[in-house]
């Protein structure tokens, strides 16, 4: 079972991101479970959502306590909540920021993770460019597909199109694709 925890703020599409990820996994014939952290969500407040992906039925109903991957949609959260709680050794970290891990004072944390498992993506900038709104979730899912290989980009695109038909879907897929390609290129450079 692969478990993902998504941290963001109300209005950034944190819950939608987990749902879209579960649909992408479903499209690939995987079992998937997406659920929010059930707070009284409001704009700007820290929000958490979860997604589990497995090849067999998922029965577990506890929150994701030991994630295999963390998606952080808002880098200001590192100062507000214990984002890294329970992150597995060898886990993945994907952060929406135009800064480096060093500039975010996360060097000691990322040093514990495998080199190819950490990446930053300017997802908000990509969202503004393609969608015209600061909603980073689609771009982050594209990046997530490239980083972990848990789902494919075309499944993410299909999930986005199902939820958002028409132009909005196209714009989100464009953001996801650019983020995906940037992360895939960075991974090739890391490997080399």
């Amino acid at each position: 079972m692969f478990q993902i925890r998504i941290h963001g703020r109300g209005g950034q599409g944190v819950v939608t991101a987990a749902e879209l990820l579960s649909v992408a996994a479903f499209i690939e014939d995987q079992h998937a479970q997406a659920f929010p952290s059930f707070g009284s969500e409001r704009m700007g407040a820290p929000v958490v959502s979860f997604c589990r992906i497995d090849s067999k039925e998922i029965r577990l109903r506890e929150p994701v306590l030991e994630p295999d991957a963390l998606i952080v949609q808002d880098a200001t959260l590192f100062k507000a909540v214990d984002v890294f709680h329970g992150l597995k050794d060898g886990g993945y970290l994907l952060v929406n920021t135009n800064k480096s891990f060093g500039e975010l004072h996360l060097d000691s944390v990322v040093a514990k993770l495998p080199a190819g498992h950490i990446v930053t993506v300017p997802a908000t900038e990509l969202a503004l460019k393609h969608i015209g709104r600061p909603v980073p979730n689609a771009a982050l899912l594209g990046a997530f597909a490239a980083l972990t290989g848990t789902v494919r980009l075309d499944s993410v695109a299909k999930a986005i199109h199902e939820a958002f038909p028409g132009k909005i879907g196209d714009a989100n897929v464009a953001a996801a694709t650019e983020a995906h390609n940037a992360v895939a290129a960075a991974r090739v450079r890391t490997a080399a």
Binding site: I27, H31, Q33, P36, F38, R59, L60, S108
Partner: protein, 421 residues
């Protein structure tokens, strides 16, 4: 059709497949998405010949359902928590009048203190109102139970509450098979009421009944629920034959055959318990599970048979009656009454107000039940230090202030999070 869909919307689709003629509900978290979904299906014309009635309160919602049902319509409503309390008088009336209304209860805690999260306090508050109460383990079962609920309700002319864990199920997006209209139509015949308000054949429903007949009317309610004990397994078997999926019935067992320790639970926590049992079985611990689907009627004989060979029974429940303990544990105790050699019953109250029930905590409490059993009720993951501090405070000072606010303040002052550097 197999879909990756939110539990609430899957239930909305399943309820629409049952062709309700009147749906009336008042929104309350976490039930809202279910009735929103049905409202949308009515508006889009996908649920034909159905009137969606907006009402001003939960009391009105069930009152309208009562009127609609008495007039011969298949009627549905849904609520949660305080909403169920607000309709309480009508809840008893629907059952007492014998009207086959189906209601979804998106299980949520009851305040004060106000809390929107999941537990079973709301279902337990109406456990004695005369409704049948079925608990869904998964969203798939929630879909399947609604279809069976209409059949059962109308067969017996008695209302059914389908209890679905708020948020944990209602807001989870997962893989759910939505049945076909043809299969649902074949399983669920059109509503043929045993009593109906019809101007062509006038009757009155809801007469004043004095001491000469009240006991008999009540007894017949009980008699109907006893009949449900055989109808539930019958409908579940029929359902499985048609839909290819086991759902409903009185109870289910998991790895129970040779189990010395048996867990009893209702609702979505059964999934986490099964994963925990698999881990403990890998350590050669003989542990199994009895998942209760029907809480009302209470399957006393079936449960007694399922538990008969265990040494220890751990009841995990998301509710408790202040002053006595877990309602389910008390009912389990009653099922084991007068057995020559009865298993020991250990009562655990867990998951109140949305506190997660984790595998780690379940491992601990299952082991403790055998090695170091406790008296009365064990509160899983209770923060004993915070409780002790508050008790100490209230003893020191007469005007100690509001308990909930005191505890929140203390928790905030102890928050130890330091950002990474």
């Amino acid at each position: 059709m197999l879909k990756q869909i939110e539990g609430s919307y899957a239930m909305a689709e399943a309820i629409a497949l049952c062709r309700p003629e009147v749906v009336c509900a008042y929104p309350i978290t976490p039930q809202t998405h279910i009735v929103e979904g049905i409202g949308e299906l009515v508006r889009e014309g996908k649920l034909a010949r159905c009137e969606f009635i907006n009402v001003e309160s939960e009391f009105a919602a069930l009152s309208v359902a009562i009127g609609a049902s008495a007039a011969g319509a298949r009627a549905y409503t849904a609520t949660s928590s305080q909403g169920l309390l607000f309709m309480a008088e009508a809840v008893y009336n629907a059952a007492g009048l014998g009207l086959p209304i189906v209601m979804t209860l998106g299980n949520r805690a009851i305040g004060a203190p106000i809390n929107i999260w999941n537990d079973h306090s709301d279902a337990m508050s109406m456990r004695d109102a005369g409704w049948m109460q079925l608990f869904a383990e998964t969203n798939q079962e929630a879909v399947d139970l609604h279809i069976q609920a209409f059949r059962l309700a109308e067969e017996l002319s008695m209302p059914v509450m389908v209890c679905v864990d708020g948020f944990i199920l209602t807001h989870a997006v997962e893989r759910i098979e939505i049945p076909s209209q043809e299969d649902v139509d074949a399983f669920l015949p059109p509503y043929d009421p045993v009593q109906v308000l019809d101007p062509r054949e006038p009757v009155s429903i809801g007469a004043m009944v004095g001491p000469d007949a009240f006991t008999e009317v009540r007894f017949l309610q009980h008699y109907k629920q006893q009949q449900a004990l055989s109808l539930l397994p019958k409908f579940a078997a029929e359902y499985e034959a048609r839909f290819g999926r086991a759902a409903g019935g009185l109870l289910r067992t998991y790895k129970a055959d040779d189990a010395e320790l048996l867990v009893v639970a209702m609702g979505s926590v059964n999934g986490t318990i099964k994963d925990t049992i698999d881990e403990m079985r890998a350590e050669s611990i003989k542990i199994g599970l009895v998942t209760l689907v029907s809480y009302r009627p209470f399957p006393t004989a079936a449960l007694r048979a399922a538990l008969a060979n265990a040494k220890d029974v751990v009841v995990i429940e998301k509710s408790f009656a202040v002053g006595i303990g877990g309602q389910l544990a008390n009912n389990v105790d009653q099922a084991l009454r007068n057995m020559t050699v009865a298993p020991r019953v250990h009562s655990v109250v867990a998951g109140l107000g949305g506190r997660p029930i984790t595998r780690a905590a379940l491992h601990r409490v299952f082991r403790q039940a055998v090695i170091q059993p406790w008296e009365a009720t064990h509160f899983l993951d209770l923060n004993e230090r915070i409780v002790a501090a508050e008790i100490h405070r209230t003893r020191k000072k007469r005007r100690s202030g509001p308990t909930a606010e005191n505890i929140l303040k203390r928790l905030a002052s102890e928050s130890s999070f330091v950002p990474a550097e």
